[in-house]
Amino acid sequence: MQEECLLTMRQIDKKFPGVHALNNVDFTLRKGEIHALMGENGAGKSTLIKVLTGVYPMDGGEIKLEGQRVLIHSPQDAQNAGISTVYQEITLCPNLTVAENMFIGRSGVVIRRKEYEKRADEILSRLGIPARSTQLLGKCSLAIQQMVAIARAVDMKCKVLILDEPTSSLDDKEVQMLFSLMRDLKSQGVGIIFVTHFLEQVYEVSDRITVLRNGELVGEYLTEELPQVQLVSRMIGKELEELSNLGETEEKQDEEKEVFYEAKNLSSSDALPFDFTIRKGEVNGFTGLLGSGRSESVRAIFGADKVTGGTVTIKDKRVKITRPVEAMRNGIGYLAEDRKRDGIIAELSVRENIILALQVMNGVFKPISRSESEAFADEYIKVLNIKTASRETPVGSLSGGNQQKVILARWLLTHPDYLILDEPTRGIDVGTKLEIQKLVLKLAEEGMSITFISSEVEEMLRTCSRLIVMRDRHIVGELTGNDLNQTQVMKTIAGGEA
């Protein structure tokens, strides 16, 4: 079947300082298809979208729309060319009506309200969107707001519609509403690029899948020809055949040690209820694709999100952990996923960053003396091999890996019994990665319990003796012993059917 090519992107190249975000990526969108763009964090999905919509200028390559070469320098250019984007966060104005949101920015000098409302109502009813044009947008549900954004795009005669993570804040019913709208537009010849990390939704609605990994094109597949487990292995980056040959021979210590932490039905504002236990000296891990709820779960353990239910026992004693400081007093440390936002304070020195958590635990009225803090800092700079000019150097000027070590030092200084490491190795060089992995194993030997999260399954297999697999915000399996191999992990992530 030879379909008409609507949009072709050839050899797109985009470099950021230190990162090759897109390396010769090709992408083709045909008329009347829903094309899923898949990839793990940092694969280059959003960079590709932003190049296409003119948010970033591209460093090389060309974009053709209906065979014509187009130059896109701004979101405005993209819209005029017929490429519309609906972002995850709604980019409409809540204080205006639905009709105004559809026509603002492209109306005449005088507002012809009645005419706009009539036209808006026509489009809304044609697309089957249950909203009135005179309604205030802020009073509509998120799903309706998203659909209004789509309606606006449709009325602007868009040929290419980009939906960037449109379903992440919708419930099941709303997702179905959105999907039927997408199918409707598809039948009208609109090409839709669908960016999501929900595998099931991809299989439900898309015709074709393009997978990116580390800024490179992995391949383009027909959805029906690519089983889910294959898709996962392409996203994560190991061929299945290759995987099954890998012999995993690591000692798994599974002795019955005492349980350190146990949660039953723990839930938070962002995590569904789940059970979880960790023994003294155990290293376990949460795995799953981005958005599967792995970070949300550990955040609930630490009390970083609003805890909404469940019971927690630490060393057989019931405790209540609703705030990070309570978790810290109970001996839990948490190294956050986003170290720029949640972790380091770039303007403060290495020393100040290291003593931060200890100071919080001691309280404001028991300051740590200067000489004491200097001693602590020096000790950990040596133990963790932190490469810094001095202990007073601002953390912001250190490399990513060394920043990570500073945060690690911060938590080690509080002598936690249980340490949660959320993506501690992201964006740091291989050498430091190995150092951190070794350190994790050494700490566990000394009796610390550790939960380790990483996007790289291999790394998890090397360090963890138990893996908890999550998919679509539910725990779908626990792997130990002989099941701890990549094939099994991927099968579980993808949903069993190989």
Binding site: P75, I90, N95, L96, V109, V110, I111
Partner: protein
């Protein structure tokens, strides 16, 4: 007609803007009527309303300009000082033989220059509006004092005749104790103010620029994504405010007939208070010129009530203004919070719930 009530039936619930405006109007009438019944006297006569308008026409004009800026999510605190500078410049210009047309152009020109310069700094160089207009305030005040420290009375014949012209409505007047008929009088400035209010209403409601200002105040990032030229829109909102400050200055001069370095002192604060009482949110996106008009009138009414109750000292007016502002902001946050089901009212509720729970626990513990 199938349904004769259809005309009165609203299709949509009120928007935040309409709701806050309605609240202000209702409270204004309640206040005024209670003054009529409670204090009687001057409040019984229509003259009272006309006096309130005559005294506050320039405040109404600047408050309208400020409303435009505030809906767009900005602030302009230079308006009072610019008004004062315009008053002084025009009176000196007239006294040195300038023409009336020339003085009007001078007033508009000064306002426009302030609007353009401040708007440029705020929108294109992205400097904080509060800082820029604070600088504008000091600059304009300083310039006024440089022009003349002493009060200047207008000696321009034609101008004085013009400013003496009043619309007299005899049947709305009243008969004084000595038998003289005192008609209700409306100054020309009031006519200008009413025209300004109407024009701003039309601009905000029926023109692209107006809707863009609402969109920008509602969510700046979205406005940008929707293809609105946010920088130009913000620039123009400050130009409008500057221009209206110029007009306000001229109206002020028509009312007082003299320039003084302390003219319109604190007017920017009264203008902000008027806009807020009229339902304009400091966060932007919500507000209306009609609301601001009634905001000014409410503020004036409460001050008149305070004076009529025998509290003549000016600090009492300041205290009541403060109290009223506080009352309206609380009222607005409760009303809007109730609508969205969160925000402050949610917090207030949660606070009380916690309080009650802890009291209950203590009771249980003691029994």
């Amino acid at each position: 007609m199938k349904n004769p009530f259809k005309l009165f039936k609203r299709k949509e619930p009120l928007t935040d803007t309409q709701l806050l405006m309605t609240i202000t109007i209702v409270i204004f009438f309640i206040m005024y009527l209670s003054a009529v019944f409670g204090l009687g006297g001057g409040f019984l006569h229509a003259k009272q309303i006309f006096d309130m308008l005559n005294d506050n026409s320039s405040l109404i004009i600047v408050a309208c300009g400020l409303t435009v800026v505030m809906i767009g999510g900005g602030i302009d605190i230079s308006v009072g000082a610019v008004t004062s500078l315009v008053v002084m410049s025009c009176v000196l210009f007239l006294n040195r033989g300038g023409s009336i047309i020339g003085s009007i152009l001078l007033a508009l020109g000064i306002g426009l220059v302030f609007g353009i310069v401040q708007g440029f700094l705020i929108s294109y160089l992205e400097i904080q509006p509060f800082i820029v207009t604070l600088a504008g305030l000091f600059f304009a005040r300083g310039m006024t004092t440089i022009l003349s420290i002493d009060p200047q009375k207008s000696q321009h014949e034609a101008f004085n005749t013009l400013r003496g012209k009043k619309i007299k409505i005899s049947w709305l007047g009243y008969t004084a104790k000595n038998g003289n008929r005192i008609p209700a009088q409306i100054e020309l400035g009031v006519v200008v103010a009413v025209i300004v209010v109407i024009l701003v209403v039309i601009l905000l409601k029926y023109f692209r620029l107006g809707r863009n200002i609402y969109a920008m105040g509602g969510n700046q990032q979205s406005a940008l994504m929707l293809g609105i030229n946010v920088k130009r829109t913000r620039f123009l909102s400050y130009v409008i405010s500057g221009l209206l400050s110029g007009i306000s200055g001229y109206v002020f001069l028509m009312h007082t007939g003299a320039g003084n370095a302390t003219n319109a002192a604190g007017m920017e604060m009264n203008a902000i208070a008027s806009a807020i009482i009229g339902g304009t949110l400091l966060t932007g996106g919500v507000g209306s010129a009609v609301g601001t008009f009634f905001g000014t009138m409410s503020l004036t009414t409460i001050n008149k009530i305070v004076v009529a109750s025998g509290l003549n000292e000016p600090y009492w007016q300041k205290i009541t203004t403060g109290g009223m502002l506080c009352f309206f902001i609380l009222l607005q946050s409760v009303v809007l919070g109730r609508r969205s089901g969160k925000k402050s009212s949610g917090k207030i509720k949660a606070f009380f719930r916690r309080l009650i729970n802890s009291i209950r626990k203590k009771k249980k513990a003691s029994t």
